[in-house]
């Protein structure tokens, strides 16, 4: 009987720590709601549809920030997704086995570089490069709203480019795992029917489509919450603009820049509410992406391919 009670003690102790982990997540949600209650009550949903951001007058509207966050993240996805899927296909299907481990290592390195280093590189290398690119845009194109504005370098384009670089390793590593879970019979069947390499891989990708969408969404979740690198290159100007050249602002960036300056309660509440919505959006996006990847992994029954190389 002593052994049984000791087993119970072990279960309760480890369980308590595990429950603490779950409690933290709930705590984050509760704390964010309670600390943004002032602005939630005062502005309601109007907070998210107006663009005035005037801390002195106590008037807050967060539309420019949510616009900037969505615009930069979607743009980054458009750039990053084809590249990330290309890498995933290359590493899992095409490249010689000897190249596989070093390539995985290099793409993972891209994910390991701290955000602040991306930002530093962005300020001193990427932004000047984008600025000189902008000065070479012909005037005829300049007339379009998407290229409107002076060539500043800092702005939406720089932010989207740096986000794209940062998102690629996340999307490609999940997509690689997803492709690995496609039964080998899928490819064998395609080849047996006389398919070319492209056609066989396309069939495998079609089979894995839910998981691939999940991988892309995971990248989206990363892009939405990215703070330092974007803050340093986006220009930090709260405006709703379609222009790639215009300096804009994101939700994460406004929190990073203004949180220590928020002297009065309403201002602080407004910033926390932005954090709350950022939390909620990433929660939904990540949850959905995990659901897709999980249902894909469950759906793919049958003989699997052997795990690639020594990659653990």
């Amino acid at each position: 009987m002593r052994a049984r009670s000791q087993d119970l003690g072990f279960r309760l102790t480890t369980g308590a720590f595990a429950a603490a982990l779950a409690a933290i997540v709930i705590g984050v949600g509760v704390a964010l709601v309670s600390q943004s209650w002032l602005t939630i009550q005062k502005f309601g949903l109007g907070f998210w549809s107006t663009s005035t951001w005037d801390p002195v007058a106590g008037d807050f509207g967060a539309l420019p920030f949510i616009w900037g966050t969505l615009y930069s993240s979607i743009l980054a996805l458009l750039i990053a997704t084809p590249i990330a899927l290309g890498i995933a296909v290359f590493i899992s299907e095409l490249c010689p086995a000897r190249l596989r481990t070093p390539l995985v290592f290099l793409t993972e390195l891209l994910a390991a570089i701290p955000s602040i280093v991306y930002g530093l590189w962005g300020i001193f290398v990427l932004v000047p490069a984008v600025r000189s690119l902008q000065t070479h845009v012909p005037d005829a194109l300049r007339a379009l709203p998407i290229f409107a504005g002076p060539p500043l370098g800092v702005g939406m384009l720089s932010a989207a480019l740096i986000l794209a670089i940062m998102v690629v390793p996340f999307t490609s590593s999940v997509a690689r795992e997803v492709l690995k879970s496609v039964p080998v019979t899928q490819r064998e069947g395609a080849y047996a029917l006389g398919a070319t390499r492209f056609e066989a891989i396309r069939a495998a990708m079609y089979f894995a489509r839910t998981g691939i969408v999940g991988a892309v969404m995971l990248g989206f979740g990363r892009a939405l919450g990215e703070t330092m690198a974007v803050t340093m290159v986006i220009g930090n100007n709260p405006q709703v603009s379609a222009s790639l050249f215009a300096p804009q602002y994101t939700m994460a960036a406004v929190i990073a820049n203004e949180f220590t300056e928020a002297a009065d309660a309403l201002y602080l509440n407004a910033l926390v509410e932005i954090g709350l919505v950022l939390f909620a959006i990433t929660l939904v996006v990540n949850g959905l992406s995990r659901l897709l990847i999980w249902s894909m992994a469950r759906g793919a029954r049958g003989p699997r391919r052997k795990p690639a190389g020594a990659a653990a």
Binding site: A22, I24, G225
Partner: protein, 282 residues
């Protein structure tokens, strides 16, 4: 062109495009490493590690206070994250099917995806606002919360790899479940768990956003837990957005130090993981 030739061409183009994608991703990596190493080396010297920051206009100086700050903050984070993470990982691997386990797994994945700046806001409300004081403890708390899910995940994954026969052997000798875990299973997976902790430390040492309004920054040398403290990342940020050439050089040097930490840790991890996968085949 015959249909077959068209299909072959299409297939070759696809293979080429995938290869190109790899190159396109590796070019920025090479660019970033090149700039950080070349710019950083020019500014990096012994003074960087042993001296305090100099005021604007005086060249030289270092980041001694920020380096110590990053060490202290990471240490505090580990103090919080290692017990919670390892114990949660043990629970998940020992009772994988319980309702609590699926809730915790979900919470851990969720926490891992929460933007670091939001963690900073949370830690601010918990540890800065009540005391009206930025502090090292608040910074360590923010980093620790970020570290917990990483430690939990690696611990769980590694414990599951330990061969069942080892557990059965321990239980057959009359060990309780806790005894089997702490005397047999965890020691077998220990190199891997330590590797995971080192990797997690490398990742949070590079975090900036959660520190901006928790640990804040400090121009002076401080080891006090209740005072604001400097860190390499926040210092690099401050220098990078300043208009001064001298400070920009210092920022590159700081970036080189950060990248070196990350690189060394992932190399070590790679060595250790190959040892762990040998354990699996045993």
């Amino acid at each position: 062109m015959s249909h077959t030739a068209y299909r072959t061409l299409l297939s070759r183009l696809f293979v080429g495009a995938c290869g190109l994608a790899v190159l396109v991703a590796l070019i920025p990596l090479a660019f970033i490493l090149f700039f950080v190493v070349s710019q950083g080396f020019q500014a990096l010297n012994l003074d960087f590690f042993t001296h305090m920051p100099k005021p604007v206009g005086q060249p030289g100086g270092g980041m001694a206070n920020a380096i110590v700050g990053t060490l202290i903050l990471s240490g505090l984070a580990a103090l919080l994250a290692v017990p919670v993470g390892v114990m949660s990982g043990v629970y998940l691997s020992e009772y994988p099917q319980t309702r609590l386990a699926s809730a915790v797994r979900f919470a851990s994945d969720t926490l891992n995806g929460v933007p670091s700046i939001v963690i900073g806001v949370f830690a601010y409300g918990l540890a800065v606002l009540p005391f009206k004081q930025f502090s090292t403890l608040a910074g360590g708390l923010a980093l620790g919360i970020m570290m917990i899910p990483i430690v939990t995940k690696t611990t769980e994954e590694l414990l599951v790899l330990v061969p069942g026969s080892m557990r059965e052997g321990a239980l057959a000798l009359g060990a309780t479940r806790g005894r089997a875990v702490f005397s047999v299973i965890i020691p077998a997976a220990l190199p891997g768990i330590i590797t995971g902790i080192v990797l997690a430390l490398a990742r949070i040492a590079g975090e900036t956003a959660p520190l901006l309004f928790t640990a804040f920054n400090n121009r002076f040398f401080s080891t006090s837990l209740t005072q604001p403290i400097s860190s390499i990342t926040v210092q690099v940020y401050t220098y990078a957005i300043s208009p001064y050439e001298d400070w920009h050089r210092q920022a590159w040097a700081g970036a080189l130090v950060l990248i070196t930490i990350v690189l060394v840790c992932s190399m070590l991890a790679r060595l250790a993981t190959s040892r762990v996968s040998r354990l699996r085949t045993r």
